[in-house]
Subunit: 462 residues, 2 copies
């Protein structure tokens, strides 16, 4: 008869302890597969416990498959196939990555602490919580909540002069997620052209999702159709309104050329409009999607304009792809919580988003002007050029004369200044992008900048 010392059970319940004892004996082989177990009544009597306790332990053992019953015969130990199990190797804790404290970090596009409209956002959130209680109860549609898609279409109408059907908008948890959707729409084992230099992550996401990327060199006007000949690409991913990192704007002639090429070659243009909101003079540049919505997939994100923690991006698909989306990918659940979608929809509808963007645009314009002013005042100014397009959260600092880019970057790093060259964003070795460095200014503290510029100036004098 099985006998266990129930006093040893510590804080766990009788039934659970009994379950554990029998389970362990079956696992260790002490109770062999096929061996008959005592009846509930007998086991209960043997331990001076209630039959119901044994019943509960047996029930759990049966559910988990340690024990099976045979009608009118009783309980038997099951076969557990235990032989192979090796001792578990204890997992190592990953060392925590310490964030380096830079004097100045030209690689960071961390936004300013007080730039996010907390008070307004949380007010809209609370109101949304009251109005849209039941938004919690339904799974968000694969293309996003209707109210948000309408708010986005409306915003694009006013802000970008675009005539967008809300039904063509797909909302997703970040642009990277949407890139993977595009791959699923176009099909795997295809080719997508990306810009060289360009934001490397884009190519990485595409490749990680199973497509090949062709890195096409850009010229002064952006990606050139001559370099696409024979490439057989299914899509071309570009940022025509503000190329990263060069900041170049694609002129209307080149845009028309590309649209024409795309339409002839049955290829889509993915128009990544990542920071179009931050043009500091004149109007925002009209989008390519606005010229020809049939071959352009337009993309934008709220992570740049609102806060990086907000993972809401959207794309506008041409009619044909929208059909494909509903047919091929309509089974997906949405990736952004409905509650956040309603909150953002209200934030846009009530005009807070536009107000926020205007405020941020002014803020960044002033801030950029002050940073550029500081460079002009610094002794380094005679050795550099500033290339900027009155737009975006970064500009290019060119070094006149010869400098070893890698050594320059290393020297600055040793002096707690973090900076990247445009060549770091080149896939091929492109001579013309040497001696150019990227100034992401949004996280730069002005008072530290002067010191950093002095260090940079000294590094150039060596």
């Amino acid at each position: 008869m099985l006998t266990y010392d129930l006093e040893k059970r510590g804080k766990i319940s009788l039934y659970e302890y009994l379950y554990q004892c029998i389970r362990d004996d079956i696992l260790s082989g002490k109770i062999k597969a096929g061996e008959k177990l005592p009846s509930k009544r007998a086991l209960a009597k043997n331990h001076g416990i209630s039959v119901i306790t044994v019943e509960n332990a047996y029930a759990q053992l049966i559910v988990e498959g340690y024990v099976y019953t045979q009608e009118k015969k009783g309980y038997f130990a099951g076969k557990v196939n235990r032989q192979y199990i090796e001792p578990e190797i204890k997992t190592k804790k990953r060392p925590e990555e310490k964030k380096k404290q830079w004097l100045v970090d030209f690689n960071s596009n961390h936004i300013m602490y007080d730039s996010f409209p907390f008070a307004t956002w949380s007010r809209v959130m609370r109101q949304t919580l009251l109005d849209q209680e039941n938004s919690f109860l339904t799974s968000p549609a694969p293309n996003g909540v209707k109210e948000l898609r309408e708010a986005i279409a409306n915003h694009l109408q006013h802000f970008r002069g675009m005539d967008v059907n809300p039904d063509n908008i797909i909302v997703g948890a970040g642009t990277e997620y949407l890139y993977s959707m595009i791959v699923q729409l176009l099909g795997h084992n295809k080719m997508i052209a990306v810009e060289d230099p360009g934001y490397k992550k884009i190519g990485k996401v595409y490749e990680s999702n199973g497509v090949k990327c062709v890195h096409v060199k850009i010229d002064k006007e952006g990606l050139n159709i001559n370099d696409l000949a024979g490439c057989n690409v299914s899509a071309i991913h570009i940022s025509p309104s503000h190329h990263f990192p060069t900041g170049r704007v694609m002129p209307i002639g080149r845009r028309h050329q590309l649209l024409s090429w795309a339409s002839k070659n049955k290829c889509y243009i993915i128009e990544d409009d990542y920071d179009s909101e931050f043009r500091f003079s004149g109007k925002p540049i009209p989008t390519m999607a606005g010229i020809d919505g049939r071959s352009v997939i337009y993309m934008n994100t709220f992570s740049k304009t609102l806060a990086p923690s907000i993972r809401i991006a959207y794309m506008i698909l041409p009619d044909q792809l929208i059909e494909t989306f509903h047919k091929k990918l309509g089974f997906y659940s949405g990736t952004v919580s409905s509650f956040e979608q309603y909150t953002l929809a209200n934030f846009i509808k009530k005009g807070y988003f536009e107000r926020h963007i205007n405020r941020m645009r002014n803020y960044y314009r002033d801030y950029r002007n002050r940073i550029i002013h500081a460079i002009r005042q610094s002794p380094i100014y005679s050795k550099v050029t500033i290339e900027e397009e009155n737009a975006g959260l970064h500009f290019i600092l060119g070094i006149k004369g010869d400098v070893d880019d890698e050594k320059f970057i290393k020297t600055l790093k040793d002096n707690n200044i973090n900076i990247s060259g445009v060549s770091d964003y080149c896939y091929n070795n492109l001579e013309e992008f040497r001696h150019k460095f990227i100034i992401n200014y949004s996280a730069v503290e002005e008072e530290k900048l002067t010191r950093a510029l002095d260090i940079m100036n000294q590094a150039l004098e060596k």
Copy 2:
């Protein structure tokens, strides 16, 4: 000299109207490529407007590439390559899908309106907003916010007896997103085994991400290794604790067999623990990941336990895959907003999550008992069997004797009752799963159920 009737400009500004006029003339070819434009001064004088207005219009035209300048020569119309543009076809609005109002919908797993703890959640949200203001300012890490991963590990320790390293947890916007991550980890053009019958969406997501699925028939104990022979799969996706839709629990012997097979064949087991929280008697079934964390990818979601609108799921990767994740996919941004991650972390830490689950478990147990009681009281009871495993938000209604499943479902649909057969979840034609129907009871209104059961009974009598 260019002359435009500026009175016609309506509400838009002078500079913008002038910009539009010149742009349209260049686009239409009225102003030819290479043609010299009037000087700013001359054009201003001609229209009786300020030079600054013309300057702004010219600046915008230059940025967009309609106009270029030649030093000391002036302004010229650019080449716009306009010829190809065809008139845009107006997009059709997609017809809105009307949701059918069912008498009883056995396919819906919509949760009960009052089951989501709004008040508590919104209190935690507000507190998180106060404490974690700066959580808005950083992009969430690719594997999720540390506080949330720690809270999950802690919860799994207490609730499932699992010893999980928070560093092995990956948080993502829903399980479907995490499936696509698994594909990227394992590589494309691989094979994954899924259960037949099974939740069809799982296979769809995998296939949409470029892997092939082998649909492996389950027996009484679940997926059988004999059916995997020669399959060369990289992973096996199963729900051992509560198979969908049959509800079957994989016994310990089969679990060990599968783990052993996986380890020998260098294959991963994806343990989809989608509703393990809802076992109505005894303890939750121990996980396979808890037995051998080296070959199991454990997955779970908060969409089932909290609310479908909350798009937060997680997986626990074995050490080896965690290394691969950071190496291959570490460049990704997280997909769940940091703010929601902190909110959920606090919700778990403060014990609200466990309390909520306990409440829901009791609620569902009672509700399921009442539904089963109603079936037992109905005249249909003599014609059916109820297969349930004391777990989950659905059970199986088997029809004794012969019935044409498709016709039965159609008759019910015509009578406003929505129901699916287990065979609807079969990939192959599996005889043994005929005459079995899935009762998702969570959205069934009791008072309507009696009527629905009468209709079902009549349908069986025909």
